[in-house]
């Protein structure tokens, strides 16, 4: 394995929304590094800040207060670009968005327009970022649609999104995201709405494109099985904070944070004894406006302790393995 090189570094990221009813600390102190050609998985339950993290990288959030650094390293040794400093509506981020860093969503219709054919939409994306003739662009578009497994791509070119199945729309969105060969692909729950069979196809597609294009991937999901199959490195989030961070095998075999441990125990596995009670986590994720002080997981944690009223420390368990928890600190 070559020395790992970061392509994206997220440092102490905070994203807050000021609402009438109070401040939503959607993301509160998140740190991670995406390495070249690798897949970083971000996992957590709904509302933990996965999508906000993803969108803030591309500066797609306008009404938020964002602080911290998001360092993009386009080339190995050059000065990184801090995306947090870019104007969300400016040309600099626009040149990066879609070209260097592309994103796909759970619901393809959020990035596809119903009134244009899929051919027009993929061509538009190519025109925005590449200087190609009409014929060249069309050739590239069709080859991309073929590559993502759309049968009969030439004919489907004239289709509107509503004429396609959910799985096909997802493929079109991936084709649009990948037509400019981005360095980083952010995939926000790309298979959550799909059948298991189509999910397996899409994940296989993302993995093989990642290898072919030497692309980095940020895979966002609530499903630990997706993480197990795709990620090299994992960030576990809970209510806007990082509970744990580790290489994928380490996370599954040696989880340290009680939240990670509980999540892993609650998965139904092939060898789970049938019809017996499953492991659970008590309660449910609170509204972020009512997040507990100190450790945000403390009101659901089986190992809760007085100390948990205070902010927990980040404890290191190995070069790349940390958990944010009091459990491993002696008094």
């Amino acid at each position: 394995m070559p020395d790992s090189q970061p392509i994206l570094e997220v440092l102490d990221l905070h994203v807050h929304f000021k609402m009438l009813a109070g401040v939503v600390r959607a993301v509160d102190g998140v740190n991670f590094t995406v390495e070249r050609g690798r897949c970083l998985g971000i996992v957590g339950e709904s509302g933990c800040g996965k999508s906000v993290t993803a969108r803030s990288i591309l500066r797609l959030l306008h009404s938020s207060q964002t602080s911290g650094q998001i360092l993009y390293h386009p080339n190995g040794d050059d000065e990184p670009i801090d995306l947090v400093n870019l104007d969300p509506r400016g040309d600099a981020i626009r040149a990066i968005r879609g070209k260097d860093i592309a994103m796909i969503f759970q619901e393809p219709m959020t990035s596809l327009t119903p009134v244009y054919t899929i051919g027009e939409q993929i061509m538009e994306s190519i025109r925005q970022h590449q200087n190609l003739s009409e014929e060249e662009a069309q050739e590239l578009a069709i080859s991309m649609l073929n590559k993502v497994g759309i049968p009969d791509a030439e004919r489907r070119f004239a289709d509107y999104p509503h004429q396609m199945s959910g799985g096909m729309r997802q493929r079109v969105m991936i084709a649009i995201a990948l037509c400019c060969e981005p360095r980083v692909l952010i995939a926000d729950e790309p298979t959550t709405a799909l059948d298991v069979t189509i999910q397996a196809q899409i994940l296989r597609l993302i993995r093989s494109l990642q290898q072919d294009l030497d692309m980095s991937v940020i895979m966002i999901t609530h499903d630990l099985s997706v993480i197990a199959q795709l990620a090299d490195f994992v960030v576990v989030m809970y209510l806007g904070q990082m509970a744990e961070k580790a290489p994928v095998v380490e996370l599954f075999q040696n989880p340290k944070h009680p939240y990670t441990q509980a999540l892993l125990r609650s998965i139904v596995r092939p060898d789970t004894p049938p019809r017996e009670q499953l492991h659970t986590i008590s309660g449910s994720v609170p509204d972020p406006r009512n997040a507990p002080s100190g450790c945000r997981f403390r009101n659901r944690c089986p190992s809760v302790h007085d100390r948990c009223l205070e902010d927990p420390p980040v404890v290191e368990f190995g070069p790349q393995h940390t958990a944010t928890c009091w459990l491993y600190v002696d008094d």
Binding site: M1, E45, S46, S165, G167, M168, D195, V196, T197, I198, Q199, A200, Q201, L203, R204, R207, S208, Q211, H222, D223, L224, S225, V226, I227, A228, Q229, L230, A231, D232, P247, V248, V249, E250, F252, A262, L263, L264, S266, I267, V268, R269, P270, T272, P274, R275, Q277, L278, H279, T280, I281, S284, V285
Partner: protein
């Protein structure tokens, strides 16, 4: 447990007309449910699985006459009498709803957001002409059964978390004490940590109240966990039916095998074990000739697109709709490509 049927579905079909154009001409039919037969015994849980659009919800809706079946009988055996739901009168359906209730993925989506939890749960009682006071009393009685405090009665749906909403819909189904409950994707919309709470609750209630379940879900691990027997559907057809052991460990239909193989394994050291079924479900308006699965089946022969196979008993009640069910070897990794070429490096 002696097998006493509580529900017998016989040759159930539901075809939806597809209309096009200015004059809404019928241009064809979606065979959403096509000649489906199965039995549910007292006290068991029968799982119903298959890709979206295969007809699971339509089966459930037919069982409760939320849509009118086109063909077949749906026999429901209660202590006193046997109903044929497919031809029951309105008045009989009122009795049927005391015997069988349904849990939806999100019951609130079809309800007035101004209803309080107590109104939502009491609704089936009111439909049974039970008075308001008695209904409120029964609501307060059922809330702790599903793990909710009495203070939830006055809440509005938007004040509840996903898990609490699903507890409310379980309470709503159980408030008339039906022996049979149909659950259509009851945990699909829930967070992982809450999903297992609801599964545990359903298992608990089943043993406490001696319930019978028809459980529909697309998460195969969960269906496997909760079901005694499993029915697999493809394009409106039942393609395999058997005990959980028969369907999961000894499956004989290539479609079932493909479904099972696409389940992702939650273990980063076993990446090479996932397989991928190619293609998508064909249009239900124009299902492939012969065996509907023949266009995606890696074993398809000429006979498969020419002749539709019957559902045949392969022994011990294990039913399979495949011409080659006895010849195929569907043990480990025989037909599909691995998901990933590399395995995780620690």
């Amino acid at each position: 447990m002696p097998d006493t049927p509580i529900l017998q579905v016989e040759n159930l079909s539901k075809f939806f007309p597809v209309q096009r154009g200015l004059f809404r001409r019928t241009v064809g039919h979606v065979k959403a449910v096509n000649d489906v037969t199965f039995t549910v015994n007292k006290g068991e849980c029968v799982g119903l699985v298959g890709e979206s659009g295969c007809g699971k919800t339509t089966v459930a809706r037919c069982l409760l006459r939320l849509v009118e079946p086109d063909q077949g009988r749906i026999l429901l055996h209660s202590e006193q009498q046997t109903f044929d739901i497919a031809s029951a009168s309105r008045k009989e359906m009122l009795d049927v709803r005391r015997q069988m209730q349904i849990i939806f993925q999100d019951p609130f989506s079809s309800l007035d957001p101004r209803w309080r939890v107590t109104d939502v749960i009491a609704e089936p009682l009111i439909a049974q002409k039970i008075g308001r006071a008695e209904a409120s009393r029964r609501v307060l009685e059922i809330l702790p059964t599903v793990g909710l405090g009495a203070h939830f009665a006055d809440r509005f749906p938007h004040e509840l978390s996903g898990g609490e909403r699903q507890r409310v819909s379980i309470a709503r189904a159980l408030v008339v004490s039906p022996p049979l409950v149909v659950a259509d994707e009851p945990v699909s919309a829930l967070d992982v940590s809450v999903r297992s709470q609801i599964i545990n609750l359903l298992l608990d209630l089943q043993s406490q109240m001696n319930l019978t379940y028809v459980f529909i879900a697309h998460d195969l691990s969960i269906v496997k966990h909760i079901s005694h027997r499993i029915a697999v559907m493809y394009l409106g057809r039942l393609v395999e039916l058997g005990t959980t052991q028969q369907v999961f460990e000894e499956c004989k239909h290539p479609y079932t095998k493909a479904l099972l193989a696409s389940v992702l394994i939650p273990d980063p050291t076993h990446r090479e074990q996932s397989y991928v079924l190619e293609g998508e479900v064909p249009s239900p308006l124009n299902p492939p000739s012969g065996c509907h699965f023949s266009t995606r089946c890696p074993f398809a022969q000429e006979q498969c697109s020419a002749e539709e196979p019957d559902l045949r008993d392969m022994g011990n009640g294990h039913l399979v709709r495949c011409h080659f069910a006895e010849d195929l070897d569907l043990s480990e990794g025989v037909f599909a490509l691995p998901l990933a070429t590399s395995s995780a490096s620690a």
